[in-house]
Structure formats: C-alpha cells, structure tokens
C-alpha cells in the first residue's frame, strides 16, 4: 500500500479495517458455534479450515495489504506456498505408504 496516500484515503482504509475486524469477530463466533454441532470429523475439518481460510484471507489481504502489494512480494509468497505445500504433502504421502503393513 502506498505511503503517499491522502488523509481521506487513509481514513477510508481505517473504515475498511474496522469492517474487517467485525468480519473476523463474526467468523470466530461462527467457527466456535459450528464446533458445538459435533459434525463428522471430515466435515468438521472442512468447515473449520474453510472459515479459517476466509479469516486468513481477510487478515493477509487487508491488514497485511496483500491485495495491493508489489510483484516481488507475490513472487516470494508463491515460492513459500509451494514449499509449504511440499511440507503438507509429506504426511499425506505417508498415508498411502503401505510399506511394512
């Protein structure tokens, strides 16, 4: 986000931050409420991660202003996402490893 924004633009951003905060608070309440439904584990994981992803998008997109960031940051993050995916793929791969079973 530019450091050369006008005061009016900054005040407009501030209003957006407050709306994002309200959204995060509501989504937190929703994710806790859903947990009391005691869904099947597969469905519970899906719903919890879906809501957490929306919250993550709000924090990264607006508070960390990734929605209007420079290309170099996107490049760094794409590389990060790739290696993060590799990390998560490890246990997934293990799940289908039948060696010794």
């Amino acid at each position: 986000m530019s450091g050369h924004a006008t005061p009016e633009e900054i005040r407009k951003e501030t209003r957006i931050y407050l709306m994002v905060f309200a959204g995060l608070a509501v989504l937190t309440a929703v994710t806790v409420a859903v947990s009391y439904l005691h869904l099947s584990i597969g469905m519970a994981v899906l719903v919890a991660l879906f809501i957490a992803s929306i919250k993550g998008f709000l924090v990264a997109g607006y508070f960390m202003h990734l929605l209007s960031e420079k290309k170099l940051i996107y490049g760094v993050l794409m590389l990060t996402v790739f290696f993060f995916a590799v990390l998560l793929w490890g246990p997934w791969h293990h799940h289908y490893d039948t060696f010794g079973r």
Binding site: G3, A5, P7, I10, R11, E13, T14, Y17, L18, V20, F21, L24, A25, T28, T31, V32, S35, I41, A44, V45, A48, L49, I51, A52, K55, G56, V59, A60, F63, M64, K70, K71, L72, I73, V76, L77, L79, T80, F83, F84, L87, L88, G90, P91, W92, H94, H95
Partner: protein, 209 residues
C-alpha cells in the same frame, strides 16, 4: 552501490539506504522486503509443525477431540483478543501516517495490552494443565499442543518486546525521522498480523476438532 549508502550520517555512521523511500527495482523499502522474507521462513517453521500435527493425527486410529481436553471458551476469548490487537496495530500505523503520534502510541499501547491479556490467559490455561499433572510428555496430543502454542506464545512475547520498545525509547525516532518510524510500525505490524494468522489456524485445528 547507491550513493546514499556512502553518505555520512550526522554522527559519521553509514546511512542505510532505502529505509524510507522504495528501491526503484523492487518498489519496496528494504525493511518491508526483509520482513516478508522473514515471514516466509516463519511459514516454513510453523508449516513443519502443522505437517507434524497431520502426521500424528492421521497415524493413529483415535485422536482425541481438542474440545474435550482443552478450554474452548478461554481460547475463544484469546482469539477475540488477538484479532483486536491486529486491528489496533493497523490503526496505530494509520494514525502515524496521518501525523498523529499521540493516537498512534495509544493504539500501540492497546496492542501491547491485548498481547499481555493473551499471555495471561495462556498462562491460566497452561497452569490448569500443569496442576492436573498434564505435561508435553503426557501424550502426543499434548506434545504437539504445547509445542505449537508454546512457539506461538514465544512469538507473542517477542512482539511485546518490540511494541514496548517503540512505545518507549524507539519513539524518539519520530522527532527526527517520522516517515522511517512509521515504516517501522508497518513492519512490526506485518509481523504481528502473521502471529494472528498462525493463531487463526491453530485455534480450530487444536481446540475445535
């Protein structure tokens, strides 16, 4: 090397280039690129632990439900506290961009207060577990719970030290270099939002599933 790099500061120190204005090639001031590279390494650190959690969880027939063993209301309270601190730190940055140091410091102080509340609540949670003789060595669930929340707590503690510095001696920079000080708050805010982001995923995966 940029001419600024060689320019002598008032005290004969080497001036660090591009700490206020963006580098023409990256479009970013250096500290901002620096914090994003650091956060990328942090994603890998926490990513390895999330990977371990998945491995432990899928490796056994019966993994305990977090909501049966952990205190969900306290963790929910902490989630609200942490998202509140995320908004106060971004409001501190916005206030400084508007030239209002007093308001910026109030928001920074509120951020520090939220971080303190988070740690106190966490201490109650841990204390309750320890009083029931539950430790990281109790089982795999508690091992990964204490490791992940403990590492996250250390990050909160680190953020508190930085906020305390910028509320105290670090704020002197505002008198001579307000734009640089504002950038510093943006950078530590980015770190703080990342700490919030990690909790957003830790909370459901450990407490609610």
């Amino acid at each position: 090397m940029d001419a600024h790099a060689h320019a002598a500061h008032g005290h004969g120190e080497l001036e660090i280039p591009f700490n206020v204005h963006p580098r023409p090639d990256t479009g970013l001031y250096n500290a901002k690129l620096g914090i994003w590279l650091f956060l990328a390494s942090e994603v890998m650190l926490f990513g390895a632990l999330f990977s371990s959690l998945i491995l432990l969880r899928t490796g056994v027939e019966n993994w305990p439900h977090g909501w049966k063993l952990l205190n969900v209301p306290l963790a929910t309270l902490n989630t609200f506290v942490l998202i509140s601190s995320s908004v106060t730190v971004v409001l501190a940055w916005a206030s400084l961009r508007l030239g209002d140091l007093r308001k910026g410091k109030i928001y920074l102080a509120l951020t520090l207060l939220c971080a303190l509340i988070f740690m106190v609540v966490k201490a109650f949670e841990y204390g309750s577990k320890f009083s029931h003789h539950i430790h990281p060595s109790t089982d795999n669930f508690y091992a990964i719970y204490f490791t992940m929340t403990g590492l996250h707590g250390l990050h909160v503690l680190g953020g508190m030290v930085v906020f305390a510095y910028f509320l105290g001696p670090g704020a002197k920079m505002w008198q001579t270099e307000p734009a640089r000080f504002t950038n510093r708050i943006e950078v530590c805010g980015l770190y703080w939002h990342f700490v919030d982001l990690v909790w957003i995923f830790l909370f459901p995966t450990l407490y609610l599933l």
